[in-house]
């Protein structure tokens, strides 16, 4: 071989090998979210779905801990997916929706309005959990640019190794086991929690300096509304029946006005808790912040009925192919529920798993 | 040349300036001697040794110092 091509080949080989080594280190050092903080694994699981979904939920922990797609399917044959993540901000929800529409066209999109209270980027840790799971696309790039807090830089999202390299001193077996493959921690985006911790005292509301939502939050809510209208998707706003962070009536008024103006459906489940049969002494595992699995199932049954009536969703349980796929999801769901109940019995108290 | 020798003798009497060729390198002349020597040369030969001439080769032996002085003197004309 001519000398020039020999050196060129060697150079290419070396560069490739360097990237391989760096990629391996990145796979090792990036947090896996398989135990402990599982919320970080939610976003990336969406890409494993093989079938379409009639309903897409977007929002923060008020969606992924209070709605159970498996129940929606069992009760009403609704196919749904929750693209939720910890403290997901309004603009992150918008870009997640924008990305989802590249994969499928749902009939209904449900957005939880609590995140309207945040007008600027909040916390680097939550940004990472929401954004790192996304596949690279123009939506992800936009979402990263808009979500970055002060000392974050874009390169650390393109190469997560630049961000997580210092985890070398915190590596555990989990990091090695899940280097290339991840387990599924959620059921179509629902993160199951078992156990009960009743609400004894209601959190007090404090006086705020300014109750109106920020400009930035409104702008992205409008973008969500517009993109749904352009794609002929019915947008439904919701507020989960959780009592902390406190939901002020001034906020409620602004959302109701917005829903009327844009003729959107808006359901505040705080007000319809007894109708849904939700009792905060048994249906929450952390005294009212999030529902446990029983609470989530109750809320899903109640909300499912509304979705069918108001949005005209069809019952897909007759579709053989879909039933086959969802049957597996149901046994995984039941298996985890079973296992979590046993665990909570063993640990004796009703603390979180 | 002998004027120069007695300036050097004045600093260190015990050194044989005829033959020694490493006054600086062997640290026989330290910075104190250097300055006093330049001052004496200035007085006796009325020549100013510019700063950038203060380098080891020029001062390593009596001969090299003397040739430096001569060079500076005729450079003056």
């Amino acid at each position: 071989m001519k000398r020039r091509t020999k050196t060129a080949a060697a150079a290419v080989l070396m560069i490739a090998f360097t990237f391989l080594v760096l990629f391996l280190f990145q796979a090792l050092l990036v947090p896996k979210y398989m135990s402990g903080v599982r919320e970080g694994a939610l976003i990336q699981e969406y890409y494993r779905e093989t079938t379409k979904h009639d309903v897409i939920f977007i929002g923060d922990c008020e969606v992924y801990e209070n709605i159970s797609p498996v129940t929606l399917w069992e009760e009403y044959g609704i196919t749904s997916y929750i693209r939720g993540s910890a403290q997901q901000l309004v603009w992150q929800s918008y870009y997640l929706l924008e990305e989802t529409l590249k994969y499928e066209k749902p009939d209904v999109v449900v957005f939880n309005v609590l995140s309207m209270k945040y007008n600027e980027p909040q916390n680097e840790a939550y940004n990472r959990m929401t954004l790192d799971g996304m596949k690279w696309s123009s939506s992800k790039a936009q979402s990263v640019k808009v979500s970055m807090t002060g000392d974050e830089n874009f390169a650390s999202y393109v190469f997560p190794l630049l961000r997580f390299h210092s985890r070398w001193s915190e590596l555990t077996k989990e990091d090695f086991r899940y280097m290339f493959s991840r387990d599924t921690v959620s059921h179509n985006g629902y993160l199951m929690q078992v156990g009960t911790k009743p609400v004894t005292t209601m959190p007090k509301t404090e006086i705020l300096d300014n109750y109106s939502f920020g400009e930035n939050a409104w702008q992205y809510l409008e973008k969500i509304t517009d993109i749904c209208r352009e794609n002929g998707i019915k947008l439904v706003l919701m507020k989960a029946p959780t009592i902390y962070p406190v939901w002020y009536e001034q906020w409620e008024k602004q959302i109701e006005e917005y829903a009327d103006k844009n003729d959107l459906l808006y359901y505040n489940f705080l007000e319809t808790m007894d109708e849904a049969g939700i009792d905060l002494t048994t249906d929450t595992y952390d005294a009212g912040l999030h529902l446990n699995v029983e609470g989530a199932e109750k809320l899903s049954k109640y909300f499912g009925k509304i979705l069918v009536q108001e949005c005209g969703l069809s019952d897909n349980r007759k579709d053989e192919a879909l039933s086959e796929v969802w049957r597996e999801k149901i046994c995984a769901y039941e298996a985890e529920k079973e296992q979590k109940y046993r665990e909570s019995e063993q640990s004796g108290n009703n603390q979180k798993g | 040349m002998d004027e120069l020798i007695d300036i050097l003798k004045n600093l260190h009497a015990d050194v044989d300036y005829e033959k020694c060729t490493a006054l600086i390198d062997d640290k026989i002349l330290d910075s104190f001697d250097l300055i006093t020597m330049i001052a004496d040369i200035h007085e006796k030969f009325d020549v100013i040794i510019p700063a950038d001439e203060i380098i080891a080769q020029n001062f390593n032996s009596a001969k090299s110092i003397y040739s430096l002085i001569e060079r500076l003197l005729d450079d003056e004309e």
């Binding site: 760096l22 947090p31 974050e152 | 300055i35 100013i48 700063a51």
Partner: protein, 531 residues
């Protein structure tokens, strides 16, 4: 744009790629554009001052050069006609005019530096004195922003102007080429202070892509980043904790702080210079070495010939020698020798010159008393060791074998390191009385037990950090041992390509993984640390 910022790395890559694409004759012009861009990022304001320095120095050097050439031709043409005295008078007159031009240029540039850097310091002193009488300060402080690298490029340019005045360097007629010399961007941050005569050899030449050069340059850059990111920035947290809370960290902590700072400063400074020289080497430009394993020196004088070499050389060539060869000092020398006898006569001029040089070195480092005291202390130690030379000689005469024993050499090396670290405390606490008081706590308040018991872990870095720094320092030590016999990279270059590749890969991976950079590193609460 700091060395360790991503923008700087991208900037360098950009310059490197363009440098070898652009036709050879535009290479130095590209460098100039890169300098302007780099400097603009650090603040447009600073460019004005640099512009003034470039223009004044260019004008001064060209005038002096033209004046000298005219004088030489005139002397040639009048060879036969003029008498010795006439020619001597003419030469004196030319020298006088050249000297005036030089002094004007020096006055302007050193003036700019002095005003920008030292006004607040002067005001602080005036206020201090005024407060002693009237109870409150008199003058308001200015908020001058110090342009990037002003101390470095001002001294470098003044060195060039003085060289032209002495006829040691040819004045550069093309102002852009001269601007490139003044503003060569890698040097702006930490030096080295180059000499025009040496730098122009490679700065303006056309360079084609020499693989060996680029490889050596890249290796050196990586080695610089390794020192800076893996060692210096990591131990810096502990140093800052110790210095930040003197009331809490005293006694043995001060000693630890001293040692950590010695490691941090060495790794950071030599790392920065490695990056600078590496970048220049990649572009085919040779910069002078600024360090020569200073922690192996056996005496303070030797230390200052191996630490920040170019600064020491600058002060020696442009302040120490001119002063000691200047007429007033010579007059002083003869005067004191006549009136106060030989002993004082020999010492006084040298002491005067030395103190002036070290005062200038101290204040150049920073506009505050601790730097001045640091400079003067350095000078005192050197003079003392010079005065004690006869004692050393007597001592060694008694124990001739001792001198070249390995143990004695180690003793000397450790003594120098400790002494320099003590002096550097002034640099840490930046407050003279506090420094002395903290230094004294080392001997008065013993807390070695509590420090080693767990105190080490309250300094803001974990045990793993100490392990990494420890290993990094050992690697540094081993490489320095290898360097004693010649360049490590030359020997590496002889090895097979695979070995070279894995060496470079190891460095790159070590920097990316163990580097102290990014959000993950600064030890605030990241969510996962709590589980």
């Amino acid at each position: 744009m700091l060395f360790t910022s991503l923008e700087f790395i991208l900037f360098i890559l950009g310059v490197f790629v363009l440098y070898y694409i652009v036709p050879k004759r535009f290479q130095w012009k590209l460098l100039l554009i890169a300098n302007v861009f780099f400097y603009a990022c650090a603040g447009i304001g600073g460019m004005v001052f640099m512009g003034v320095t470039i223009v004044t120095s260019y004008a001064a050097t060209v005038c002096m050069d033209r004046l000298q050439k005219k004088a030489d031709n005139c002397i040639q043409s009048q060879k036969g006609i003029w008498t010795k005295e006439e020619r001597k008078a003419y030469k004196k007159q030319v020298k006088k005019r050249k000297r005036n031009i030089l002094l004007d240029c020096l006055f302007i540039n050193i003036g700019i530096l002095a005003i920008l850097k030292y006004t607040n310091f002067a005001i602080a002193n005036i206020n201090g004195i005024a407060a002693a009488f009237t109870g409150n300060g008199v003058l308001a402080y200015t908020d001058f922003v110090l342009p990037l690298g002003i101390s470095f490029y001002t001294f470098q340019t003044m060195g060039y102007v003085i060289d032209v005045y002495r006829g040691k360097a040819e004045a550069e007629r093309n102002i852009f080429k001269m601007a490139l010399f003044v503003s060569f961007f890698p040097q702006l941050i930490q030096g080295p202070i180059s000499r025009f005569g040496e730098l122009k050899e490679t700065l303006y030449k056309e360079h084609n892509f020499v693989f060996k050069n680029v490889l050596f340059g890249v290796e050196r850059i990586l080695w610089g980043y390794f020192k800076k990111l893996v060692i210096a920035d990591r131990i810096l947290v502990a140093v800052n904790t110790i210095i930040g809370q003197p009331s809490e960290y005293y006694g043995f902590y001060v000693f630890l702080g001293m040692i950590f700072y010695a490691v941090e400063l060495y790794a950071d400074f030599t790392g920065g210079i490695d990056i600078t020289i590496g970048i220049a080497q990649v572009l085919g430009i040779n910069l002078t070495e600024n360090f020569e394993r200073p922690y192996f020196s056996k005496s303070i004088a030797e230390y200052w010939r191996r630490w920040h070499i170019t600064m020491g050389a600058w002060f020696r060539d442009y302040i120490y020698y001119p002063m000691s060869a200047s007429v007033p000092v010579m007059k002083l020398s003869t005067f004191t020798r006549k009136h106060f006898g030989e002993a004082v006569g020999r010492r006084l001029p040298v002491y005067l010159v030395m103190f002036t040089v070290w005062f200038a070195t101290g204040i150049w480092h920073g506009a505050s008393w601790n730097f001045i005291v640091w400079g003067l202390l350095n000078c005192t130690v050197i003079l003392i060791s010079q005065e004690c030379r006869p004692l050393y000689e007597k001592f060694h005469a008694k124990f001739p074998k001792l001198k070249d024993k390995c143990g004695y050499k180690c003793f000397q090396i450790i003594r120098t390191i400790l002494l320099m670290s003590v002096l550097r405390l002034l640099d840490c606490y930046r407050n003279v009385p506090m420094t002395f008081c903290m230094f004294s706590t080392m001997f008065t308040r013993f807390n070695i037990g509590s420090v080693l018991g767990g105190g080490l872990l309250t300094l803001g870095i974990t045990v793993y950090d100490y392990a990494v720094v420890g290993l990094g320092v050992m690697l540094l030590f081993m490489v320095s041992m290898l360097q004693r016999k010649g360049s490590v990279r030359e020997r590496l270059y002889e090895k097979s390509v695979v070995v070279q590749y894995f060496a470079v890969l190891f460095l790159l991976v070590a920097i990316i993984i163990f580097g102290a950079y990014g959000i993950g590193y600064d030890a605030n609460q990241f969510i996962y640390n709590q589980f």
